[in-house]
Subunit: 486 residues, 2 copies
């Protein structure tokens, strides 16, 4: 698949990064002489953060090129994303030029914050391929894309656009009727307007306003939004009760309802200097890196909880797993391959090494994969059975860096009804080099009594069969080793 990125600023560059990291080839068209530097910087940020959200390998990165002309950029493109400045005449000119050279099957998405699709479609030779696909900065991390088809674009094209957006990890929000500024930017505008008044009237500085948001309702909104949060304020008495209670406040003259403050040079400078005082100690690239690290933290914690934007990430993992395959072999005449994955950026400590306890986590995941392989799933634990770790021996052989592919294997040293003795190895996939080993003894327990209990399942037989098959393999050199053994 090929994407053409028309306009390579912060937003266009973010789109380019998201497409590339999901395996699409990307051609960029932008006359700005700084475009290559800009895209390289955005791609460097994206490469450090987007893959940190995945728990399955990402597809191989697509090919990035800079087109000599708009015609060359859009040739054979499946998706064309327009992110030029917010001037309608300019957008019309660019869209006309794109459509002269673009395939008829391509989707032509516009990143416009404010224009309605009908305004973009007006006068176009193929209005049916044009729609609004409005993303949020940083485009490579935030999943939201507001999709507005407008009257000129068919449901089929819109649905195909949504499918393609999902395939690059985004969540299309189809806006039912086109309006100026779609949905989210109407909120941003309302808050922005109110914030300008607070600064103009010396009620608060930019930093105080940011703190008022990020220490309070901003944290609520990142995971539930407005209405679900208020549903909780209504409590057992319900949403209607809450609105009846809160609604009347709207009639009070709290906010500057009717006025737009005059954005004169004095106010612009006031905001700019307050912002410098607040954030000027960080460079823009540094602040972007901080933002991205924070967003990765939020998104990963939502992912563990399978909630909000984290649920979208889990769905994307499933799609990626289908694309990149689950290549685990089932050949019991060699150590059984369990995990094939890559070292996640989140596992690296500040020294650039994989943190000690993450090795233990990899082997812990390998144990779960082994038990799944023999048919033991969550329902086995729910029924009151489990394997508990009694003791382990770890050896650390080599360092491994972020995004390096690895695989793990298990060699069953012994299995009976009560015990399971396994030797795991973790290898770098590139050169099979041994990274670490873990020898573990598990005991089969009744989780209610907490006591060791004999297992009685087909899985036990399967483990014993694997153990028997593995008994012909050479015993691992360091199995049975004690700490400090010469």
């Amino acid at each position: 698949m090929k994407a053409a990125i028309v306009g390579g600023g912060v937003i266009g560059g973010g789109w380019a990064a998201r497409f590339l990291l999901h395996g699409w080839d990307v051609a960029v068209s932008d006359p700005n002489p700084r475009v290559r530097t800009q895209i390289a910087e955005i791609l460097a940020n994206a490469g450090k953060s987007l893959p940190a959200l995945a728990d399955v390998p990402m597809p191989a990165r697509g090919k990035l090129s800079y087109a000599a002309s708009l015609a060359q950029a859009v040739a054979e493109a499946d998706w064309i994303q327009e992110s030029v400045p917010e001037e309608l005449a300019l957008k019309h000119k660019v869209i006309a030029e794109i459509q002269k050279h673009a395939p008829a099957h391509a989707i032509l998405g516009s990143s416009t914050s404010g224009f309605k699709p009908s305004e973009l479609q007006a006068g176009a030779i193929r209005p049916g391929q044009i729609l609004v696909a409005h993303p949020f900065n940083p485009v490579y991390l935030l999943p939201l894309a507001e999709v507005v088809a407008g009257p000129g674009c068919s449901d089929d094209v819109r649905d195909r656009a949504c499918e393609l957006l999902r395939s690059i990890g985004m969540e299309p929000l189809v806006v039912r009727h086109e309006i100026d500024a779609h949905i989210a930017d109407r909120f941003l505008e309302a808050v922005w307007r109110e914030a300008l008044w607070l600064i103009k009237d010396d009620i608060a500085t930019t930093e105080e306003i940011d703190n008022a948001i990020r220490y309070g309702f901003g944290l609520r909104w990142g995971q539930m939004g407005l209405f679900e949060t208020y549903r909780l304020a209504g409590g057992e008495e319900g949403m209607a009760h809450f609105i009846r209670q809160f609604g009347p406040c709207l009639a009070w003259p709290w906010t500057k309802l009717t006025d737009v403050p005059d954005l004169d040079e004095e106010l612009v400078q006031k905001i700019a200097s307050q912002s410098d005082a607040q954030s000027g100690q960080y460079g823009i690239r540094e602040l972007e890196a901080i933002r991205d690290r924070n967003l990765v933290g939020f998104l990963r914690s939502l992912k563990e909880r399978d909630w909000g934007a984290g649920r979208i990430l889990n769905q994307n993992d499933k799609r990626l797993a289908k694309m990149t395959g689950d290549a685990a072999s089932i050949d019991d005449s060699a150590p059984t391959r369990l995990l094939e994955s890559t070292v996640l950026p989140a596992w690296i400590d500040y020294n650039g090494h994989m943190t000690e306890f993450r090795y233990v986590q990899v082997f812990s995941d390998s144990c779960e994969a082994l038990l799944r392989r023999v048919g033991l799933h969550d329902d086995y634990v729910a029924a009151g059975h489990s394997y508990y770790t009694a003791e382990t021996h770890n050896q650390y052989y080599d360092e491994v860096g972020a995004n390096e592919p690895y695989y793990t294997t298990a060699q069953i040293l012994m299995a009976d009804a009560k015990r399971l003795h396994v030797f795991y190895r973790m290898h770098a996939a590139a050169d099979d080099r041994l990274l670490a080993t873990l020898e573990a003894m598990y005991l089969h327990v009744n989780t209610q009594s907490g006591k060791v209990a004999a297992a009685q399942s087909a899985a036990t037989a399967k483990l014993m069969a694997m153990s028997s098959a593995h008994s012909t393999l050479p015993k691992p050199e360091t199995a049975g080793r004690f700490v400090g053994q010469r």
Copy 2:
């Protein structure tokens, strides 16, 4: 310290929980017959989530009581928090009754969302002890408290109020000049008004609006807020450039500037039924638990990054550590005590047990404590020296639950210039029962070359002296044990 909670609904109950969990005694005054149930439910939620944010032990929980009268509740209170419904006449009546019985030194904070402190202070016998301390739901998790002193309250009282709020983990935001609705609620009102229009006009449902927030800008706002986020949109060209570019949009008629939608029964029902469709599959208690789990995830990830609300949590840990003490002994004739702490709620898996890799983390922290004990700090690593873990042997003896106190010890088995051989034990503090052990061999390395290198520091001598002192101790029974040994 004693807090009086006047009005025990969602907000008052949240205050009660925050005070109690920070060791304050709390007396609740509320005529509602359901108040005990409500407070118990809120406290149960808070007890599961607030301690999960701490990496040091919390103080012992304060004593909760329900006062027979307002007079009894406020007697000898250091902080009185008023959270009765938003009616000015009612608040005046309650404040007058409070001041009849409260100590003059007590702070009287009001949770009001909208009233100015001057409105609350009007006609009071001691206006100087009244200020606005406006929190955000859930009060026990979100750190923000808007503090508005108004003309009747001195800077001294305001500063003392801020100090007390910090001592219960909150971040006071002093509002420079009193205005209706302080700061944050003006934004909430602006967004709410716009959201009502979107629903009334059938542009979006409650769920679509929530998704438009939580998949996009909500995630940005939870960690940076409005202005710092926009600073990044301006890029290298700066904030003034951004405002000049974005400002003109404000003159466009994007949002419903001038109107407040009529909140008639039809609109109330429309919102309530859309909210039911969106969230009705969850009970209110369940949804609160989901929200709290998500907030803990966000807050912990910010804490690891020492940013935003996470920085406030780290500062609170430092305060708590001073209160709860660091009682590590230095007696080298017994295994050296290293950590004294409690099992954190965040370490518990869904089975209610401490997760395997968290034991490894405890021993890893113990190793760091041991190295600090002999004088090796971050500057040693910065200078290119470090101890790397070569191999470990773990034994898991017993389960341990959330909030259980534990301690760890180290027995140095051998130390020379290149090697350090340590046997760690983790015990439950209540009954000294052994939870787990880890035997570890560390190698001293030059971090530039990655090669083993002889250590040359006073710390080595100290480790060798400890090893010599420990040589008179009985050798740990399982030291030198291999996995599966009978």
